[in-house]
Amino acid sequence: MKPTFFRIVFFLFLSVVQVSFSNILFASLSFPPPIVLGAVVSLSLLKGFSFSWRWAVFGGILFDSMLFSRIGVSSFEFVLASAVFGMLAREFFVGYRMGRAIFFGIGMWFFEFLWRIIFMFQSSVHSESFFSTVFGENFSRGLFGSFLVSVLVFFILFRLTSFFERFLEIFDRFRPHR
């Protein structure tokens, strides 16, 4: 119960940080670093998809509720990311090391970038604008900055998540049934 409670608090905190801190601080970039997505990907790399999917769903519901969006969009994105990165880590990166967090940070940024392109396509269809116009207007400023900040934030977030998970393992060790 306690690890679950701490993880809920962890995700609540990260969602607030993304909505009220990161999105304000990095508003001038193409898109701010996706913190909740980063936490889901980190959890997926550390513990696998079979563990991280429920936190992807929870994080998505939390994030959508906070932004008054339709529930389900972020959960869909997070579950997909969790599966992709969980499988990638298991297939290609057995014996995971911290330095590889940068590689996954780049991967996560590309994932978010592609996700936003899908949104843009939908938006351009909806508003009857040319996709190229929408694409250019959205990504004409701060794309490289967004890339750098996202990779850096993911690196920090991965360290934080792995430290947090090690801390939570203490509770598992001292469970009475073990």
Partner: protein, 296 residues
């Protein structure tokens, strides 16, 4: 198994139970498989998105918004001040030129304010003579920006005031003494979502210049504003000031939106359109006011 309970004399209730059981076992079969699980989860998310249960989403927003409101305020405060510090360091080199430009603009504005206050006095006297209510009677509710949505096409902000402060969906949101920045899009008890005028989904009825050219102000995916759908017979010039027309919704007339630049014809030559320059930086908003009641 279904075939076993089927037949002419089979009990339909029993049959439905077996069908459900077989569905459960099919679900388990999928769930045990890695890709099956992924498929089920994604399908579940898609179903929830399509279904969009308003009761569930409203309850979640209310609970999460109420519990996390203080944390949003604190984190938002740090976010804003960190952003200000970042902006300060990045713009040190431009400060001298900016200062000179603002000084020149201040002198110009002082002259305009003096002229306008004379006209305003005259207008008040005329309105009194005709028995009309005074125009500048806007009832504001100040609110702090506690968050920002970066996913929407152009921007939406979260403000720390909601239903309990008398805010309703559709109300105009301004900064300063009446520069329109958006409209309230969703309301929770202690917070609201404001769709900025720079969002591509935003459309505000507006008039431009002394000739009152009518059109629609739309957002350009967070980068700027456009006055669109102005008919060719209306006079639209560069430098015209664009204000809200007061038509439709809770947006009162006379809120400043921006100044028109680069007027051109639309692709089909039916309408004119102009790019607008807003005096507001939408990525640096801190305090806003919601127009609660416009007594016009």
């Amino acid at each position: 198994m279904i075939g076993w309970v089927g037949g002419e004399d089979a009990d339909p209730r029993l049959e439905s139970i077996f069908v459900s059981l077989s569905n459960v076992s099919m679900f388990r079969f999928f769930w045990k498989n890695k890709f099956g699980k992924l498929f089920l989860l994604l399908a579940g998310c898609a179903v929830v998105f399509a279904w969009n249960p308003s009761f569930v989403s409203f309850t979640l927003r209310t609970v999460i918004g109420t519990v996390l409101a203080p944390l949003h305020n604190v984190v938002g405060f740090f976010g804003y001040h960190t952003n200000q510090t970042k902006v300060f360091f990045l713009s040190v080199g431009q400060l001298k030129h900016e200062n000179e430009r603002l000084l020149a603009e201040t002198i110009d504005l002082k002259a305009r304010v003096a002229a306008l206050s004379d006209i305003a006095r005259e207008n008040e006297i005329l309105r009194e003579d005709r028995g009309l209510l005074s125009r500048d009677r806007l009832d504001f509710k100040a609110a702090e920006v506690i968050g920002r949505d970066s996913v929407s096409s152009g921007g939406a902000i979260l403000i720390g005031a909601g239903e309990t402060s008398g805010i309703r969906k559709g109300m105009a949101v301004v900064v300063g003494n009446g520069v329109l920045i958006g409209r309230v899009f969703e309301v929770a008890p202690f917070s609201s979502r404001v769709l900025l005028v720079s969002d591509s989904e935003s459309a505000i009825n507006a008039v431009a210049g002394s000739e009152e050219a009518r059109g629609i102000v739309r957002g350009e995916y967070g980068l700027g504003l456009v006055l669109d759908m102005v008919i060719q017979t209306d006079t639209l010039r560069e430098g015209d000031e664009v204000i809200t027309s007061g038509l439709g919704g809770d947006v009162p007339r006379g809120l400043f939106i921006g100044t028109a630049t680069s007027v051109e014809s639309s692709n089909d030559r039916l309408f004119q359109r102009a790019t607008l320059v807003s005096p507001v930086r939408f990525d640096r908003l801190r305090f806003v006011s919601v127009v609660l009641d416009a007594k016009l």
